[in-house]
């Protein structure tokens, strides 16, 4: 059936709430308002205010309460409106959720799922547009996911909830309106949360990306294909732990890599991917790997400036030509 990324997320939420009475959704405006991005629209009517729980504007408090509720035997899904606001809750995510298992000598698990929007492209200016996935991907003790397709939006929540440890899911704000075909059977969308996925086969270079940059990378691959350049597109999907084997397998085939990441280049997730490529695949490489990242600037409001700051299909295609020397 044809559906949107937003609806796929909602289907997954609804299914989780039906399947397990321990599951509940908590966050700012998730209930009466229906979710800032309308993901939870209708769920309050169906499941009531105990399980679709509106919170005050109090990220540290309600994310920490989510950690405590997970410790207490529930399966909370906590929505933080955007990654920018999650910084207010960073203490509870980094100092509590991620550490409690190790610090307690393995006595406590924190089965918390944290969902948040990320990314730019909607002219929301600097305090609502940043991509800080790599900050979270730096932290041992959490798993970090980035569904980039409708199938993954549908399929990632269930395994995230089944994970006894904290999972952070990044939904790119530009993807909510993405529409496409969602297979009727779970065979078409069920996924693990450990492996990257090849989204397009190719032989001449690998575009490695995730989240909101996947559609742009696929567009670039289309443009290049028109010129006879066959590019493989690898969607990381899982930002921590990174599926290094999938990266190496693709590079063994294509020998050239361009990493596309909406984070700033300095200290980016792309930097980590390139480091792994160099460590692991150096003798497979026919050219230095390149990165296409956001310009080192707080994301501007003006549309043309915002577009210039972000990775775009043209820049991605140009980087592929550069690694190919054509």
């Amino acid at each position: 059936m044809k559906t949107s990324y937003r609806e796929a997320l909602r289907l997954a939420l609804r299914e989780a709430l039906i399947a397990d009475p321990r599951v509940f959704l908590m966050g700012e405006d998730v209930g009466r308002y229906g979710g800032t991005y309308a993901v939870s629209k209708g769920l309050l009517d169906e499941f009531g205010p105990e399980r679709i729980r509106d919170t005050p504007l109090s990220e540290l408090g309600f994310v920490g309460a989510g950690v405590g509720a997970a410790l207490g035997g529930l399966r909370p899904i906590v929505e933080v409106m955007t990654v920018n606001f999650s910084l207010l809750a960073l203490d509870q995510i980094v100092n509590s959720a991620a550490l409690l298992r190790h610090m307690s000598g393995g006595q406590f698990s924190v089965p918390l799922v944290l969902r948040m929007a990320t990314g730019a492209g909607r002219q929301l200016a600097a305090q609502h547009s940043h991509s800080l996935e790599n900050w979270y991907a730096h932290i041992p003790g959490i798993r970090v996911l980035a569904p980039a397709t409708i199938a993954d939006a549908r399929g990632m929540l269930a395994p995230a909830l089944a994970d006894p440890d904290p999972v952070v899911i990044f939904e790119h704000a530009q993807l909510y309106n993405l529409e496409g075909e969602l297979p009727a059977s779970p065979d078409g969308w069920a996924c693990d949360i450990a492996h990257a996925a090849v989204r397009r086969e190719g032989s001449q270079a690998t575009l490695i990306t995730y989240g909101g940059c996947l559609p742009k990378a696929l567009q670039a691959a289309e443009q290049l294909a028109a010129d006879g350049i066959e590019v493989e597109v690898l969607d990381l999907r899982v930002l921590r732990p990174l599926d290094t084997d999938a990266i190496a397998a693709s590079l063994a085939k294509t020998h050239r890599a361009v990493v596309v990441d909406e984070g700033w280049k300095s200290g980016s997730l792309a930097a980590e991917v390139v480091a792994r490529i160099v460590e692991r695949c150096f003798y497979d490489l026919d050219a230095p790997p390149l990165r296409v990242c956001s310009a080192e600037v707080p994301i501007p409001y003006a549309k043309h400036m915002e577009a210039a700051a972000l990775p775009q299909p043209e820049r991605i295609a140009a980087a592929v030509r550069e690694v190919l020397g054509v």
Binding site: T55, G61, G64, G68, D165
Partner: protein, 338 residues
């Protein structure tokens, strides 16, 4: 700062107060005191490292509070939590082994002094970010409420945490959702080296809690009976429903904030004045005056505490180190346990 401050007169002690309780309270305060004195000594000897925050002087708070809780309640504590862990039932051997960093420690040597945990006793830390345990306590209480369990969650923190946003966010949530949280503020007057009046515009802590429509009362934290009565009433009130309760225990630490702290910010005279009100000697004097205790009995309790400490040190000394091969253990739940 005066050692005597305005307090509410506690209501009658809980009815469950049995005749053996006073001696148990005294014995438990002695166990904490002797444990921590030994920790200080072992710190000097290099057996215990890291940050070590002693509770000496504040024992009445842990004794009165922990004895007012049921075994099934949750406890979230701070980094000055040896006493709470011990009186929650964590074996002294496991606490001492944790201080040494041994695998037999209550956190497998991964936590140390500041991160004592015990799942079986529902002891959730051992939290070393000031205020960081408060949201956790709210979440634990939320889980119990949603699961219709009759537990309450006691969250112990210092007055320094009341300057953190986490305090305000947590007490607001607990009150908004009427959750069974006992906010237990051990006000020892200094947030590290900063006096209450130098760090908070409102020094009436009960008024801060009351601003969130939370029931609040203060008690003399140097008097174990007063703590037990006040916390007992608060526990009963929380358990009966009606949401959270805030208790301020006015106390004082006789030692510095941590072993690294030269304690230059307090007058010697102030420390001495508070020591006159030390919870162990004042309470044992009371019990003697009441004819419940004589010197020989006191010495027996003290010797038992000392023997328990000696055994714990021997246990910790003899316990093996965790193999370095297990370094990456317990970052995530192992497959087998999923």
């Amino acid at each position: 700062m005066s050692p005597r401050r305005k307090q509410e007169t506690p209501a009658a002690a809980p009815a469950a107060d049995d005749s053996a309780l006073p001696l148990r309270l005294l014995a438990d305060m002695l166990r904490i005191r002797r444990l921590e004195e030994k920790c200080a000594e072992l710190y000097g000897a290099g057996k215990i490292r890291g940050f070590l925050h002693l509770y000496i002087g504040e024992e009445a708070c842990a004794a009165g509070t922990m004895h007012a809780l049921a075994a099934d309640d949750n406890v979230v504590a701070t980094y000055r939590e040896h006493g709470h862990a011990l009186l929650r039932g964590v074996p002294m051997n496991a606490i001492m082994a944790e201080m040494f960093g041994k695998a037999a420690g209550c956190s497998r040597g991964r936590g140390g002094s500041m991160h004592l945990f015990d799942a079986a006793r529902r002891f959730y830390g051992g939290q070393a970010i000031v205020g960081g345990g408060l949201p956790l306590a709210v979440g634990l209480a939320l889980a119990d409420r949603m699961r219709k369990l009759p537990r309450i969650t006691a969250c112990v923190f210092g007055e320094g945490a009341m300057a953190e946003g986490a305090f305000h966010e947590s007490i607001n949530l607990a009150a908004l959702w009427q959750l069974p949280v006992l906010f237990c503020c051990e006000n020892n007057l200094y947030a590290m080296g900063t006096a209450l009046a130098r760090s908070e515009s409102q020094t009436d802590l009960c008024a801060k809690a009351a601003a969130y429509k939370v029931r609040a009362r203060a008690a003399d934290g140097m008097d174990v009976r007063a703590v037990h009565a006040a916390v007992g009433d608060a526990v009963a009130a929380v358990r009966a429903g009606g949401g959270p309760f805030f208790v301020e225990l006015q106390t004082y630490r006789f030692r510095a904030h941590s072993m690294f702290d030269p304690d230059l910010y307090r007058d010697k005279a102030e420390i001495e004045a508070w020591k006159q009100r030390g919870p162990i000697h004042t309470f044992s004097a009371q019990l003697k005056a009441e004819g419940r205790l004589d010197e020989a009995a006191f010495l027996r309790l003290d010797a038992a505490a000392q023997a328990e400490v000696d055994a714990a040190v021997a246990f910790a000394e003899a316990a093996p180190w965790e193999p370095v091969a297990d370094l990456l253990r317990d970052v995530h739940t192992p497959e087998a346990a999923r």
